[in-house]
């Protein structure tokens, strides 16, 4: 066995200068540590590995059986209505699906919100709590890489979670021989909506989750940030509409992530909204505001997230 260190005087014997020991025969033994001379996969590979591991973790894959229960249960709750709709469409020979593709995520928003609230703290809180952040940065990974990877992973997980029922709906619609052209357009609009939804919510949820090392606290905080403004905005919309101020009811939708998404989809992805009648944002003025706020909020949260990690783990 070739061993370069065998000839090294420092390891074969003699007391190194400056170490005063009681016995004169102190020596450092060579116990066979060897350097790594395999391939070094570098920064981009580390980034990809982090994304992959985080996405798997978000669905409980590669974690204990117990931590698979909730994500899989929520995924089942998420897909179930789609399966029922497809079954109804097949049995009763409907001309169209009972729900537009873009409406699906809005209707099941509580389920999505809960999933996001579970997945986001899971991705960042353990690293903060057990102070493993410095270990990441002892690799070729940069701080922005860590943040970007986590953000990409959460957005991917949310997108998969949102788009799986849409795929079920689309497949069912084609099986039921609904108009393929219409369905494809609707499906693609639904997917586009899911991309916007995933990016916006990933940025918000990850920022909130990264503020606390305690998972339970993170879950509650993300839920609160996503749902409380939503309840506030929707009840304000109803009130303003009742009072005859439809334009203001439209603008109030800007105040919560959920209604923001709804408005963007209504304006640009050809869907209805949950907004009170007459207050839907149009593709022109108000719709543009919705789009700008969505993009701006995503960018702002991502920027704050990078800033939040700038000094972490030093």
């Amino acid at each position: 066995m070739p061993n370069d260190h065998a000839a090294d005087p420092a390891t074969t014997g003699g007391t190194p200068a400056g170490t005063a020991t009681a016995r004169g025969d102190a020596r450092i033994h060579d116990i066979g540590y060897r350097g790594y001379d395999g391939p070094r996969l570098g920064r981009s590979h580390a980034r990809r590995a982090l994304v992959e591991q985080s996405v798997r973790g978000a669905f409980g894959i590669g974690r204990s059986a117990k931590s698979k229960i909730l994500p899989m249960l929520l995924l089942a709750i998420m897909v179930l209505p789609a399966v029922i709709m497809v079954a109804v469409a097949l049995v009763t020979n409907l001309d169209d699906l009972p729900l537009e593709y873009t409406r699906y995520a809005v209707m099941l928003q509580p389920v999505l919100g809960l999933y996001i609230a579970l997945a986001a703290p899971q991705m960042v809180s353990l690293d903060l709590r057990y102070r493993t952040i410095p270990l990441y940065f002892s690799r070729p990974l940069e701080r922005t890489d860590y943040v970007a990877s986590k953000l990409a992973a959460l957005a991917t997980a949310i997108f998969l979670f949102t788009s799986l029922p849409l795929v079920v709906l689309y497949a069912g619609a084609l099986l039921a021989e609904l108009d393929a052209g219409d369905q494809t357009v609707g499906f693609l609009q639904g997917l586009a909506g899911a991309v916007v939804f995933a990016l916006l919510h990933a940025a918000i949820a990850l920022l909130v989750a990264s503020l606390t090392p305690r998972r339970g606290f993170g879950v509650a905080a993300v839920i609160a940030v996503l749902t409380v403004p939503y309840f506030a905005a929707t009840s304000l919309q109803v009130i303003l509409h009742d009072l005859g101020n439809t334009a203001a009811a439209g603008w109030v939708g800007l105040l919560s992530p959920g209604t923001l998404m709804d408005g963007v989809q209504g304006a640009y992805l050809g869907g209805d909204t949950d907004f009170p009648p007459g207050s839907d944002p149009s593709a022109g003025g108000m719709g543009l505001a919705y789009l700008l706020v969505t993009v701006g909020l995503t960018a702002l949260c991502s920027f704050l997230l990078v800033r939040r990690y700038r000094k972490e783990g030093i």
């Binding site: 709750i77 809960l114 579970l118 879950v219 309840f231 009840s235 009742d242």
Partner: protein
Amino acid sequence: MTAIYHPTVARLTFRALLGRKRALIMAVLPTLLLAIAIAVRVPTGADDRAAVSVLGGFALAAVVPLVCVIAGTGSIAPEIDDGSVVYLLSKPVSRQTIITTKFIVAVAVTALFTVVPVYVAGLILNGNSQYIAFAYTAATAAAVVAYSAIFLLLGVVSRNAVVIGLIYALIWEALFGRLMPGVGNLSVQQWSLTLAEQIAASGANVTSTVSLTAGVVLLVLATVGSIWYAGRRLASFTFAGEH
């Protein structure tokens, strides 16, 4: 006969609930409610439908369950989580007493953060016209008692108490409650709304999916049952960390 209130346990629980960030989060929600009430009242004047919409659609549907999840589970779950509950359980205090004390404290704290703001918001919105403020204050008080008991039980039974509590409040009551009216039979929100329905004038249009008797009976059953079972579970408590 075991006592139902132990002052030292109560003091420690109060401190755990009102210290740190927890109180801050709990304070944010009622503040938001009052801000919305003012924002609705100032430009449009008193309006009964607006009052019902804010108090029913936001206060009772979102603020009350969220504050109760935080306070109900927060009164015992963190202690179990970090293991310091050992020191509490090793004292010569009946475990049923511990549960009832923590329940009383949780109710007091949630009442402070929900019942009072709901009443004030009701007064701001329409000055108690058609008794809407009274109606929702009573409903909130009833809901707070039942929610606190249920979420306290969750905190004893499960380590994922916050998540399960949120699933119940947001998915079961808010989402399924809207889609399937039958869910109202198993929803604290609907049970307590029966009280509001009785108190408010008939023109206020406050409705619940369950009858008054059913609502009250179920509220009492849920509260007493949860406290009793939480005491039982705490009495036979074993530590997961021992194995």
